[in-house]
Amino acid sequence: MLRFLVRRTAQGLLVLWLITLVLFALFFVVPSNVARTLAGRQASPQTVALIQHRLGLDLPLWRQYVGWVGRALRGDLGYDYYHQVPVTTIIAAALPVTLSLVLGAAILWLVIGVFNGVMSAIHPRSFLDRSLTVFALFFYSMPSFLLGLLLLYFFYFQLTLAGFPLFPAGGYVPLSQGVGPWVDHLILPWFTLALVSAAIYTRLTRGSMLDVLGEDYIRTARSKGIAERRVVTRHGLRSALTPVVTQFGIDLGALLGGAVVTETVFSLPGLGKTTLDALNQQNQPVIIAVILLASAAIVVANIAVDVVYAVLDPRVRLH
């Protein structure tokens, strides 16, 4: 187990290192006009050069890179080009928004997906099963930005028009300003993110549950006279959840780097929106930091999934 963790951590660090290399190389290939933008239209070449020097952009690429890595290892991810704010501060401000969005949505999609999947599996080929399948495929095919806009159209615009202003058009209210407003601003984004994923979880749970319910030990449990509800939840669901847990870890890791689309549609200032804005401004320190953070989240999630897998299923050996 320990050897596994050490090896996987080393691999993960290697991946992250490769990503920093590629990102640096990419941004160096493209001529940066950050200094020119900052200097303004009227600036003399001297001013531009001075700004370039102050930002360290006149150094050769490898010196910029080594300097960045050295500072990053000490926890200093550099400064925003435009406002001279530490990148760590920017991330610290955006992270709670992304966490609120993703964790809330994750609970929703897990509950909806697993519940629907189990209902489908215990009544296979029934009307319920088919309806849930159509429901799942519909949302699986739905691009999340379209779903977000549809929810806004019907639940914000039409409801407000009809005299029921239940949901706001977007924006974020921190939890510290009250649970009510926080939830109110996040419900539509939560459903946007959750319904698309719930579709995948429904299919996954259904398939896995059907496999498990065909196992011998389920028949044994039934023949012992255990109530069907208990057979399904205690004996079936428990082992059927293993692939679901795997998928959950991977999805969560992928989303913690920012749910770009949902954050954009609902103007939530999370990590995804921050990256998108940084990209439009060529704000390189922010871009590299967030992409690195997002990759790290995926790497950690993958390792966690493997460990959880081994704990859930004793037949799995880590090596």
Partner: protein, 320 residues
């Protein structure tokens, strides 16, 4: 009685006619491909989806017909007749069947032309991804050892990259365009194909027919592409049909985030992005391109699901 071939052979008269099926037709050998196609043809939902997909393809090919029908080129801005006096888009009418957009362009014609972008990117990027994935998977599974280790690491790296963020970063650096969109999506989508193919090849390469080919003096390349490849095609085809709608959604998402094809090219994702600013006044601007996109991805997904069931009848069937 022992069941060795000789005693079995004496039981079956070689000159005897082929046994007849109950309906009187002779039983013929049917290839797995034929069987899959027959199962697919009986799948009503899949066939309807296929018809929808074909209609969308025809819409893309014959998009100029939309211009011919309405007399409106896709990028023509009808600022006089296509906008209200306040400069807002006009709703659906006999003149503009799906209304107009913020620049007074005909949404119906642009939806038809937008199918070209979605399908082109969907098919070409998927093709690139599948080609890379098959070659990498074949090589990793067949050669094993160091080749496998290096390629498997590469697959891990690709799968650990936050795809959308990096795709956005790349496109924002190079500037938006059709080929960069296709290349970026293709490059980040092959890893799963490679994993599937590798897994299949690992077990196939130990089989007798590979050994037989080798003992006949076949080269590695011949064994990989002539003997092994046809055996991994079924899962690859299934994955391909399910990858196309995913790629279409990714392309639309990039376009929605402002990284699609440069204007004025008609592109569903881009149209939806423009339409979101007007959803309180002009629902059609958002809804028609959105419906086109959703119908397309839904049709591809339903068809892909049918293809999977057809190739693997034991897999849990969806809608039949």
């Amino acid at each position: 009685m022992s069941l060795d071939p000789v005693s079995l052979g004496s039981l079956v008269d070689p000159d005897q006619d082929l046994p007849e099926a109950p309906d009187g037709k002779a039983i013929e050998g049917r290839s797995p491909w034929l069987l899959a196609w027959q199962r697919l043809r009986r799948d009503r939902v899949a066939m309807i989806s296929l018809v929808v997909v074909v209609l969308i393809v025809l819409m893309a090919i014959f998009a100029p017909v939309a211009t011919w029908l309405t007399g409106h080129p896709p990028n023509e801005q009808y600022r006089q007749i296509g906008l209200t006096p306040d400069g807002l888009p006009k709703g659906p009418s006999g003149q503009f069947w799906m209304g107009t957009d913020d620049l007074g362009r005909d949404i119906f014609v642009r939806v038809a032309y937008g199918a070209r972008v979605s399908l082109l990117v969907g098919v070409v990027a998927t093709g690139i991804a599948v080609a890379i994935g098959v070659i990498v998977g074949l090589a990793a599974g067949f050669f094993g050892g160091l080749v496998d280790t290096v390629l498997a690491r590469l697959v891990d790296v690709i799968l650990c990259v936050p795809f959308l963020l990096v795709a956005i970063a790349l496109v924002s650096i190079t500037g938006p365009g059709l080929s960069i969109t296709i290349l970026v999506i293709g490059f980040f989508s092959w890893a799963s194909v490679a994993r599937i193919v590798r897994g299949q090849v690992l077990s196939l390469r130990e089989r007798e027919f590979v050994e037989a080919a080798r003992s006949l003096g076949a080269s590695d390349r011949r064994i990989m592409f002539v003997d092994i490849l046809p055996n991994v095609l079924a899962p690859v085809i299934v994955y391909t049909t399910l990858l196309i709608p995913v790629v279409i959604v990714v392309e639309a998402t990039l376009a929605f985030l402002g990284l699609g094809l440069p204007p004025p090219t008609a592109d569903w994702g881009g149209m939806i992005s423009d339409g979101q600013a007007y959803y309180t006044t002009s629902w059609w601007f958002l809804m028609f391109p959105g419906a086109a996109l959703l119908i397309t991805t839904l049709a591809f997904n339903l068809f892909g699901d049918g293809v999977r069931d057809a190739f693997d009848p034991r897999s849990d069937q969806l809608l039949n």
